[in-house]
Amino acid sequence: MFLVDKSLHSYYHKNNMSDWSDLSIEILNLITERLYYIDQIRFRMVCKSWRLNIYDDIKYADKLPWIMGYSGKKKIHSSLFYLYEPSQKRRYLLKNKILVGAELRASKFGWLLLSKKLTKSYTCSSSSFFFYSPFTGEIIQLPELHMEDINRATFSTAPASSNCVIFVINLCYRANKFCVSTFSLGDTTWSSHWFNDYHGHGPLIYNVAYAKGVFYCAFHAFDVMGAYNPALREWKLHPYPPVFKRPYQYHLSLIESPDDGNLILLSYNYNDPEWVFRFDQSQMKWFRIENFMSGQSNADHEQVEIENLNNRILFYSLDNGISLPAEGEASKLANTIYSTSFRWYRWCTSRGGKGGTHQSPCPQIYDWVDEGADRLWKVWIQPPQTR
């Protein structure tokens, strides 16, 4: 018997079979989100209806960050730069004059935060800050800020959202004080607060990072990390893990983990990463990440709990760092560190084993980036999430 019941018709509504140009919006977007960012740019250009119907905030297939290569360390001195795309191992040449003379301060969510010095006096200057997206060419200008020469800057979320807070800390080392300035997109001026209790945290700040509402500052001194909560205008200090109390030649870097809000502290000595810790904000406690412990040091007396990197990947450069989950194409990189500095495009780690560490061969995803020996500075950059 054949059913030609009315109730059946509710099951057959959507697409009458047709060619791909009549693809339902749903399927069109399903295909789009399986494409890499670079392919999505071309995909949106197929026809008017696709351009209209592909969601602005759609996901993309990229699970690995890109690299941006530019010339000049402190100041960028060329308008030309490259974007290196890892999924298809391609290098794209881009150009924007606004970069010339600018200093790169942070790279996140597809956006660069840059600053340019406008006027200069003895140890301070007036600077203009701006956002620039190399992917879309968009620029967002921020008001000028007067600050000391020793300073670090970063931001909380993509500047596409009005929640975005820009954070600058600058030191007046001689006067033992420091200043924290924040700017929320949509405001007209920076809000600045001086603190007079800068007691020898060192004459410089390695870097700054954002996690769960708080900006963290990796001071150069041997004891503490600073933390500023802009919503509460609250400044706090947290001791570093005990291992950093010993006088030792190391460099520290805070690394963000945007999807889970974790904060990672990486130390390295010359070319080698040495220690990795995770800061747990709710417990105010450090956890050492075992996988990245370098072999020579015996720190068992430290009473620090040990955990693993939990199938994540650390991407580190002198200007930024990011921790990402090892998903999809990135899953083979789980529990490794990649750096654009010192030519470590990979860093493999011990995989378990209590008696010391050993390096195992590591997937080479970014080794092609340096083939041209282009001597550019390199920073990690992720494609923007919204257009």
Binding site: M1, F2, L3, V4, D5, S7, L8, Y11, Y12, K14, N15, N16, M17, D19, W20, S21, L23, S24, E26, I27, L30, I31, T32, R34, L35, Y36, I38, D39, I41, R42, F43, M45, V46, C47, K48, S49, W50, A61, L83, Q88, R90, Y92, L93, L94, G137
Partner: protein, 180 residues
């Protein structure tokens, strides 16, 4: 965990009535007799039988948006996955699944792929739809806009000026695509 319990209980209930088949009729009139656990992977079929108490084993469910050719492809995929599930109810044999899917899709032309995506969407088989849309994406990876238009049979309705403006906006992204 709960999903694996649910699936193993449904597999034991289906094995008790092993003979049960579901009749599905495609747009061109062919009737497919499909083993119940395979047919139930088609969400449209599952909900039809769950929601209509007056349907019997003799009921032939018409599927007017699915061609016979697409149905063959759909059933091949669903039967293979039912087989994997029956053999290893706890965890699918990942490598075998990957090998099957790679071979399966190699044999499909772009036209067949398109028909199957539409059919998988209509029949509401999310696993197959995810897989097939990923395959379509892979086939246009690093291709020119012209190639993508040809692949999907889509007419370019931008004026030359509009298209030139769009390309200028993302000039860099058009370098180095594969030969068509």
């Amino acid at each position: 965990m709960s999903s694996s319990i649910a699936s193993s209980s449904s597999s034991s209930s289906s094995s008790s009535k092993k003979e049960k088949k579901i009749s599905l009729k495609t747009s061109d009139g062919e009737v497919f007799e499909v083993e119940e656990p395979v047919a139930m992977q088609l969400e449209i079929v599952r909900s039809f039988f769950a929601d209509n108490e007056d349907v019997t084993e003799q009921t032939v469910m018409p599927l007017p948006n699915v061609s016979t050719a697409a149905m063959h492809g759909i059933l091949e995929y669903c039967r293979a996955h039912e087989e994997f599930r029956r053999r290893m109810p706890e965890a699918a044999p990942e490598e075998e699944v990957r090998a099957f899917e790679a071979g399966y899709v190699d044999r499909k032309s772009n036209e067949e792929l398109k028909e199957m995506i539409l059919a998988a969407n209509y029949l509401n088989i999310s696993k197959l739809l995810d897989f097939l849309t990923g395959v379509a994406a892979k086939r246009i990876e690093n291709k020119s806009v012209e190639y993508v238009r040809a692949f999907f049979g889509v007419e370019n309705d931008f004026t030359p000026e509009e298209e030139a403006n769009l390309r200028r906006e993302y000039e860099w992204a058009f370098e180095g695509v594969d030969e068509d």
